[in-house]
Assembly symmetry: C2
Homo-oligomer: 364 residues x 2
């Protein structure tokens, strides 16, 4: 695998490289100081388990032993369609992607309900639905193309399109941060999108597609067998082609929303804010982001463990332990949104708890 001649790079490719290069390491000294300070708070040290660990991570991300609140927070739901849908990898009609975008805009989907319950701003982004979508006040309409090509037989998109989709994701993140978000959550919608997610994760991990590919929203055995065949054939093409790094891999077997999610993670890391990732689609995007810039992983919080095997494999590879294990497989950002109150509480605890001295409580 060789890098392309820099002079041949498109503008979006240069923007992606520049974004990835702008990410700095988190500040571990702030986490160490946060941990020292945590021992003065009125509870046995360590008694809040994983919640404390999240607090220390927030300290490292922000560079402050008393990290800022993660409120308000916003979830971006990136929608895209997939040419591989033609292979019968999902029982759902492709039209459902656009229909669900309308449902998000009308506030009737699961992510809307959970978003309202947990105080999240929900932003819907068309990064590549198969049909043109009408503008809507709640829709960020930024299609890079009208769905991908069929990754079983040909590249899902061009390198330039993959880079463009990454930039769309990054720009959405930047806009949400400009609007006040202190924490970003990933969401996705795209019928058949667990297929490119499995392909991206299998390729980046060098894993067996049969072990990685899952049942998505719930497919039967024959459909699963077909899906594994499709992913296997797509990966075989990668072995012979020179796919030129993560961007080439995304172009060959990825999806537009996966690319956008990668950009969203990169931009969150560049801005030093925590990014709570959702299920297998988000994990594919996050893994791609970490391939482009490994420093990204320290800014990521895994919201939940999807039932998709590819998600667990990639999270383990990234060293991310999910906060929730609730057998979720919906996507839309629902798992990230359900996990958000845990992160919010972690930040508040670091800021608002009394110390032993302040409260007049004996230590031991």
């Amino acid at each position: 695998m060789t890098s392309p001649d820099p002079n041949s790079r498109t503008d979006p490719e240069r923007s992606v490289a520049s974004l990835a290069a702008s990410i700095r390491p988190v500040e571990l000294s702030a986490a160490v100081e946060a941990r020292r300070r945590d021992q003065q708070l009125t509870k046995p040290a360590g008694s809040l388990g994983r919640i404390e660990q999240i607090g220390f991570q927030l300290a490292a991300i922000s560079g402050s032993a008393v990290p800022p609140l993660v409120e308000p927070a916003a979830v971006a739901v990136f929608a895209g369609d997939h040419g591989v849908h033609a292979e019968g990898v999902s029982p759902w009609p492709q039209a459902v992607t656009a229909q669900m975008v309308a449902n998000f805009c009308a506030g009737g989907a699961a992510i809307n309900v959970i978003g309202r319950a947990n105080g999240l701003d929900v932003r819907v982004v068309n990064v590549g639905v198969a049909v043109p979508l009408s503008d809507h006040p709640l829709l960020v309409n930024r299609p890079v193309r009208l769905g991908t090509a069929n990754l079983r037989f040909e590249p899902a998109m061009s390198r330039a399109e993959a880079a463009q989709a990454i930039i769309v994701g990054a720009e959405v993140a930047t806009q949400l941060l400009a609007d006040g978000a202190q924490c970003l959550l990933t969401g996705d919608m795209g019928i058949a999108n667990t297929t490119p997610s499995a392909a991206v994760i299998a390729a980046l991990l060098g894993a067996d597609p049969a072990r990685i590919t899952g049942r998505g929203t719930g497919i039967d055995d024959p459909t699963l067998a077909r899906k594994i065949t499709v992913v296997t054939e797509a990966l075989r093409r990668l072995e012979t082609d020179n796919h030129d790094g993560p961007l080439g891999l995304l172009a060959q077997v990825g999806g537009l929303e996966i690319a956008a999610l990668a950009g969203f993670c990169l931009a969150g890391a560049a801005a030093r804010v925590p990014v709570i990732i959702d299920g297998v689609i988000a994990v594919a995007g996050a893994l791609t982001a970490c391939s482009l810039q490994p420093l990204t992983v320290a800014y990521l919080i895994a919201g939940h463990r999807s039932v998709e095997p590819a998600a667990s494999a990639a999270l383990e590879h990234l060293g991310l332990a999910p906060l929730l294990e609730l057998d979720l497989r919906l996507g839309e950002g629902t798992g990230a949104a359900l996990a958000y109150p845990l992160v919010r509480a972690a930040a508040r605890l670091m800021r608002e708890m009394a110390t032993f001295d302040q409260a007049g409580v004996d230590s031991h």
Copy 2:
């Protein structure tokens, strides 16, 4: 084990029996109808995993296929002290119980912070701290006695006192419901209270104390060995004495806050509202409640899996799968309070999601 002559029962014992007898089964038909209705909501059926299951449980509890919201909700933190503290089972001074009650009233403890983050009313109840506590607007001051006796050598309290503490817990629940709570969360504070919790759970499950007894807030090996000895000796006394059912068992080896938590669970079940239980102290109370009235269990939601082995053993016995597994071991109701947004989201999803027909989304 024989039941005591009803004519010899004290008034609080009769109240407990009457409360337990008032609990009705949940309505499974409402859960079935909720599940049927859930299949019309704009998501693949089953894709929200455990969250959907909680929704169906809420339907059964309320008797309505579209269950009411669980907002607002309240957590009661029952505080009590333990004579067994003299055995050196905790590194923390007993005075910390009263000091933490003051911290709760001042709003500086972890449960206060999480409660504020998640919109919970936090109520503090003195059901038996070792020293008299001054009245405070945020304290329900209902001590049954000034801490328990040392359960290693003698009954922790009398049957009548155990029943009184149960009634205090029930009355607090009833008051919170009268104040508008639609969901109850259990909390506790009491230095050394993992020792009586282990004893109660070991006795009710017939389990080996060495397998059940844990490290509480974090004790070293010699302290753990001492704690196991104490629990073992207390249980040996139970084998020879006639402890007259769950109430007698509570009196022998329990704690005042454990008894109050049992009453709190019973009253929640009697009022047909969900009760989210916290860690091992709450589980000991809940298990006692379920011994007094097995129908109670269907009203309980396990907020999290405490690191205490007794908690897992009792939850498995009750068939309750915890929502969170975050290595928490603080108590105060923190695990229940952290889990509350999941239950809140489950209720909202059942009520607020659009159906396929409403949203114009194709099904398959």
